[in-house]
């Protein structure tokens, strides 16, 4: 990933600080299964009906709002997520348009239906806790994943090589604790600041150092005095040294979180072929435990791959959205049950939407505008914007809502100085009530 690598390097070489790092990994949060050389994104082992019990942990006292970003990586097909009820949708998609009878109809989505996999979100919408931003995307869209990912990660401000949340973290008077800014899967690019890289955790079970080695030894690799003979100003050596300090801190903090998540996941009964525990469900369960676990978490970025649906998209897209809806509703139920939801805002993102016309592979190609959902107890609920097939931009949905509108809301939520971080406020659509 060329642009991001360079940007990270420049951030390091700029001398502000040589840091550990976050990765452009697109691997998902998975519950590892044995004998596994790489699990496909959503088919991991195996737990039905997770996260129903109340955490034994008391809710953290909320002096500080929390933001959870949920990234649908690969370019979510907005128009099958939120199919317009009128216009050319069905004509342009003879094969992959969703049957009208399958759509979920709800007043909260205006002149659109909702993908049947997202039906669980209707309860949240009925409760006034869901906002839908239809037609979100940057002006002058680019159909490259990497250009678009970069623009989203940096709020379209390309001068400093940092993520927009990383810039906010840089403004805080005190360094965040180990799990203060954590990416669960994905790249963590949005968290990259000049002072610290953010923590990346890719799975629940393997995030602990081996018993052979003490935390003291591991910490010594990073925090004992730097050295002259091996190039003490080598930014990569400095980054590797810092990675050990960060990792020891993060594993120590994460240990009880992982235990709590595991305790919520019942053993699967033999012969139970219920739905697998997907990447969104796991990631959001971890996020809930972090928020309840009083570890100082302010931002969590969850990223799940698989939305680049050029071919045979129907089943794959349905599974991903189903996992998303289940993860979001369980997350919210977990927090709500202990009264911790008021301080939490959730927003979904994706680098672009997809072409309105289908291709010949039962899928669709890269497009422009997409759709974001925002969840919270203090939001302006309902639909903003629209997916309008009558006014396309080169075959794509036309961007109507600048992503920086969403970012402005998120930064307000965190109490940040919006102008300092993304240049100027974007208040075209009210999101926070």
């Amino acid at each position: 990933m060329i642009t991001i690598s360079r940007r990270r390097f420049l951030a390091l070489a700029g001398g502000v600080l040589a840091t550990g790092c976050t990765a452009a990994r697109e691997a998902d949060i998975v519950v590892p299964s044995p004998n596994d050389f790489g699990t496909s994104p959503t088919t991991t082992s195996t737990v039905p009906g997770v996260v129903t019990s109340v955490s034994s942990t008391e809710p953290a006292p909320f002096g500080n709002n929390v933001l959870v970003l949920v990234e649908l990586r690969g370019g979510n097909d907005a128009i099958n997520t939120l199919p317009p009820l009128t216009g050319a949708y069905r004509d342009l998609r003879p094969t992959i348009a969703l049957p009208e009878t399958d759509l979920v109809m709800s007043e909260h989505f205006g002149p659109h239906g909702l993908h049947p996999s997202l039906a669980p979100l209707v309860d949240l919408a009925d409760a006034g806790r869901l906002a839908t931003l239809a037609g979100i995307g940057f002006e002058d869209p680019d159909r490259s994943h990497f250009v678009s990912l970069d623009r989203w990660a940096r709020a379209d401000r390309m001068d400093d090589g940092l993520g927009w949340l990383g810039r906010w973290i840089d403004t805080l008077p005190d360094e965040l604790p180990s799990l203060g800014a954590t990416a669960l899967g994905g790249s963590g690019d949005v968290l990259l600041g000049a002072k610290a890289p953010g923590t990346v955790i890719d799975g629940v079970d393997a995030f602990a150092f081996p018993t052979l080695l003490s935390n003291g030894s591991m910490r010594a690799l990073g925090d004992s005095p730097a050295d002259s003979s091996h190039g003490s100003n080598d930014p990569m050596l400095a980054a590797a040294r810092r990675a050990f300090v960060d990792s020891v801190g993060a594993t120590e903090e994460f240990d009880p979180i992982a235990d709590a998540v595991r305790s919520r996941v019942p053993e699967r009964e033999p012969g139970d072929l219920g739905p697998a525990l997907g990447a969104f469900t796991t990631g959001l369960a971890v996020a809930a435990e972090m928020i309840l676990g009083d570890v100082g978490t302010r931002v969590v970025s969850i990223s799940v791959n698989g939305f680049d649906t050029h071919s045979d998209q129907l089943a794959q897209h349905a599974d991903l959205l189903s996992d998303l809806a289940r993860g979001l509703t369980q997350f919210w139920a977990t927090l709500d049950e202990v009264g911790a939801a008021d301080g939490v805002l959730v927003a979904t993102t994706s680098e672009f939407g997809r072409r309105v016309a289908e291709n010949a592979s039962n899928g669709c190609d890269h497009g422009a505008a997409g759709v974001s959902f925002v969840m919270g107890n203090s939001i302006v609920p309902g639909l903003s914007g629209a997916l309008d097939t009558a006014d396309l931009l080169d075959g794509d949905l036309r961007p109507l809502i600048d992503p920086r509108v969403l970012m402005t809301a998120c930064l307000d939520w965190l109490g940040a100085d919006v102008e300092q971080i993304i240049g100027q406020r974007h208040d075209d659509v009210p999101i926070i009530a």
Partner: protein
């Protein structure tokens, strides 16, 4: 020049590490001779999967990965194997979408067998490679509905880079490449004329483009292509250089590409020569983070630990470290640099280092050097020059357990780098 350091650098940067006995012999030859020797085309090409009947289901996937890891572990052609890994992360396909292990393996064989040939020819071959036709949807791209997935990535990620083509170019390439399918009965690529759009397209300003050959010719004749290749090789072998250091290197590598019949090997060799010059002189280029697979091979080969012990480390270890063979995370391949060192990945590498240390035979030179507390010799055995860093030394001295000490050496910041 310090040959101990230079030869160690060479085998860490462009190879898969060496057993201490082999490293000593290489040091005796010297870095220049060693570079010439390892970059010479091998006389015999082994096929890691020759004896395997690959189950199309999940079992075959693990078998295919393991056979490749085994071949890397015993490699006598580490330069070529690193080039294959480079190509696997550059002209990317991934088994999660391709599904059939045999197709992925056939693509890796293409890189092994033809990676040293003309790069334009390799681009021609990969364009109709069955795994690629599946991965980037060429097999379903028709005159009626061209799928632009491959055309876009060919221009953006394989040969030119963002900003050097237009959306019209993407569509022209897609149209000219329509008509290829993968036959169900034998998984071979086939051109089907009635699915092909024979209308001549204009691509990158070149008219009359209507097939694989003309598409690739237009792309590789583009002024930007050699710079793109040079930049890619620089990033792979010398890291993310900046400023005039980068532009000088790119210019040199560009010439090496154009003067070397557009083959990659002369470019890689030139990059390594420049790296060795820097190592012996100004030492301004800095370190690179080793990707997980080369790092693992360096550890296993230096300790003499066998493949079976690595398997005990858990086959999920590759995923946890962030690099599963045959499964690049996306069409742009794997990340690079500090992006390999996430909190999660550092923990995973440490777990694997502990497994390797515990499996190391006490009669191995590296184990002996560690137990003799001759830590400078241990650093030399790993190809790290003359000593460990002072912080690694303090970590090693924080324990008396020999396995723990070896594990610390294997996962030390300097051994994660090259």
């Amino acid at each position: 020049m310090n040959q101990q350091r230079a030869v160690g650098w060479l085998h860490r940067r462009a190879g898969l590490g060496l057993h201490p006995d082999d490293l000593a012999a290489a040091v005796a030859r010297g870095a220049a001779a060693e570079l010439a020797a390892i970059s010479a085309p091998p006389t015999e090409l082994a096929d890691p999967w020759a004896a395997l009947e690959l189950d199309p289901q999940d079992g075959g996937r693990a078998d295919a990965v393991l056979a490749w890891i085994g071949a890397l572990h015993g490699s006598t052609q580490p330069f070529q194997d690193r080039r294959t890994l480079l190509l696997h992360g550059w002209l990317v396909s991934a088994i999660d979408k391709v599904r059939f292990p045999e197709l992925m393996v056939e693509q890796i064989r293409l890189f092994m067998n033809n990676g040293g040939d003309s790069f334009p020819d390799l681009l021609r071959s990969i364009t109709t490679n069955p795994a690629m036709l599946v991965y980037l949807d060429g097999r379903t791209s028709t005159a009626e509905a061209p799928n632009e997935n491959y055309g876009r990535e060919l221009l953006e990620l394989f040969a030119l880079g963002v900003g050097h083509y237009t959306e019209d170019d993407v569509q022209s390439a897609a149209r000219a490449l329509t008509g290829w399918i993968v036959r169900r009965e034998d998984n071979l690529a086939q051109f089907v004329l009635r699915r092909h759009d024979a209308t001549p397209q204009t691509l990158l300003g070149v008219a009359g483009i209507d097939d694989v050959d003309s598409v690739i010719s237009a792309v590789v004749d583009h002024e930007r292509h050699a710079t793109f290749v040079a930049t890619r090789i620089m990033r792979e072998y010398l890291g993310e250089l900046t400023g005039s250091a980068a532009s000088d290197v790119i210019e040199a590598l560009r010439s090496a590409y154009l003067d070397g019949d557009q083959r990659l090997d002369p470019v890689i060799v030139r990059a390594l020569e420049l790296g060795l010059e820097d190592l012996g002189g100004p030492h301004e280029m800095g370190s690179m983070v080793l990707a997980p697979i080369p790092w693992l091979m360096i550890c296993a080969r230096a300790t003499g630990v066998g493949l079976r012990a690595l398997q005990r480390g858990g086959s999920g270890a590759f995923r946890d470290m962030g690099q599963v063979p045959l499964l690049p995370p996306g069409v742009a391949g794997w990340p690079a640099g500090v992006e390999w060192l996430t909190t999660s990945a550092v923990v995973a590498r440490t777990r694997l280092a502990a497994t390797i240390a515990e499996a190391t035979d006490q009669s191995e030179p590296l184990a002996i050097a560690m137990s003799d507390e001759d830590f400078d010799l241990a650093a030399q055995h790993l190809g790290l020059g003359d000593s460990f860093t002072t912080s690694t030394m303090s970590a090693i001295r924080s324990t008396t357990d020999p396995a723990a000490r070896l594990a610390i050496a294997l996962v030390s910041p300097e051994n994660l780098l090259a």
